[in-house]
Amino acid sequence: MSERLFVNVGKTFLKSPIILASGTCNMGRELSEIYDLSILGGLSSKGLTIKPRAGNEGVRVAECKAGMLNSVGLQNPGVEHFIKYDLDFMNTLDTGVIVNVAGHSTEDYIDMVKALDPHKDKIDALEINLSCPNVKEGCMSIGSDKEQIKKIVGELRKLTDLPLWIKLTPNVTDISSMALAAQEGGADAVVLINTMLGMAVDIKTRRPVLHNNTGGYSGPAIKPVAIRMVSECYRVLDIPIIGCGGISEASDVLEFMIAGAAAVEIGTASLVVPDCPVFITDELEAWCEENDTDIRTLTGTLRLW
């Protein structure tokens, strides 16, 4: 790996700015059969809850222009199973291990962090999911209220020294106030953005395509929204931002970083071209060489008109 790609997200060192986004890489096993994940800065686990979750009824996916809707609904084996069967595997991948933490209530998040903190030597950061749009309680309903964000992050801060990255929802009027609330609660970073709430209609049946009626919109279509939010938040925050939303090319990574991201997450692109981080990484390295630039120096260099 070229040293040109090293980044720091607060106190967390990553050998590349590229992280695989939660929910698009499972626990890493399947993609590790396709390419060497050690080229990545990190991998964020499937969103985990205290108890196993079966997730939502199908149909769970609807293709859209330049993206897709999903309503998986946090299907996961539960945190105990994860610690027993997945965490050690993730540690064999020679990349940053990010654990995505979800829940239905403040108590759930507290229990999750209590369960994971004893394994902190195997975890690089906890990504607190306050933004999944596909579950009835918790997640997005907490993440769209700044008082609740501040309170829950504050509670979690007392429980662990692990870096807390707060993944926020774009389905709010003022993203910067949400990001500031996370910072005030003691977050180490914010992750912007999770999926946008959407719907697709089957014109034959006049029913929503998704059995859950609504789902999270992801893919290249949401990139401009994500970049705008990263830029807005960068101007008010003291903590770093991890950019996420529609990245599928090296130039997307550069855009996010110039707008203010210290690192980025690639999500839906992995569902279409599983090994896209390989050529994105190669292109970023080439870009850094050509421009005689270390990638970390790009963060926040945007000059607004």
Binding site: I34, Y35, G58, R60, V72, Q75, V273
Partner: protein, 253 residues
């Protein structure tokens, strides 16, 4: 490691007005694919399109897929001409387990394509194979073979009725100790699974769901499978990675 290949079209044959059989060149896929596996093919739409493998030729390093036109993506893929190409991820999923000596294959809809691959594979291994295929009417009949038992709902070709009516025409000798492998629409597979149960036969089905990644990372293509652990009503298994082939007895229809 890598499973994503740029594959050129070697031949294209229209089987009827809305279904094409396309042969792609790709030694890596052709050399390892087994019946029941599928490929995920790139088109201009956002997501890839999954297709069961219809045939492989290890000598020429080519494989075939059947593409029924149902929308923009399949229309584009079905019209790929010789010399044109696209990115194909595969082979994906688990194929059928083929250790028995005697099989009854049942195909319907786009399931006739994987059934063709099964038939070619089993015949080449000198296994005993009977095939039943069901269609709506004569105009839909594709991938047929004089050795197959053909059924149509309309009764304008073959036996009038569905696949189970076709299965009913098999002799006791044909049925004894056979394993049924079925690929087709869900109601058909459910009916065939129940027929197999009634005759005390093992039955394996290839399930289909709307898919995205095809490699087991996104969890959108799940189906309900009886849970291993007590106290849980069912497991949501991934069609693409845990399947698409499942023991019919485990499927919650």
């Amino acid at each position: 490691m890598n499973k994503d290949f740029f594959c050129e079209v070697v031949s294209r044959q229209m089987l009827n007005e809305d279904t094409a059989l396309i042969e792609f060149s790709c030694e890596q896929i052709a050399s390892v694919a087994v019946p029941g596996q599928f490929v995920n093919i790139t088109c201009s739409n956002f997501l890839r399109r999954p297709f069961g493998i219809a045939s492989v030729n290890k000598q020429t390093g080519t494989f075939k897929v059947g593409i029924k036109i149902v929308g923009e993506g399949t229309e584009e893929l079905a019209s790929l001409d010789e010399g044109e190409g696209t990115w194909i991820l595969g082979p994906l999923g688990n194929g059928f387990e083929l250790s028995s000596d005697k099989y009854i294959l049942v195909g319907g809809g786009s399931g006739v394509f994987p059934v063709n691959f099964l038939y070619e594979d089993l015949v080449s291994k000198d296994k005993s194979v009977k095939v039943v295929q069901g269609f709506r009417d004569k105009s839909q009949v594709i991938m047929n073979n004089p050795d197959y038992i053909l059924t149509t709902d309309a009764g304008d070709e073959g036996i009038k009725g569905n696949c189970c009516d076709g299965l009913d025409t098999l002799s006791e000798d044909d049925i004894k100790d056979a394993t049924i492998l079925c690929v087709g629409p869900m109601p058909m597979m459910k009916a065939v699974s129940s027929w197999a149960d009634g005759h005390g036969l093992d039955c394996y089905v290839s399930l289909e769901q709307r898919m995205a990644c095809g490699i087991g990372v996104c969890l959108v293509c799940v189906c309900k499978i009886k849970a291993q652990e007590e106290g849980i009503p069912f497991d949501h298994k991934r069609c693409c990675k845990d399947g698409p082939v499942f023991d019919a007895k485990e499927v919650i229809w």
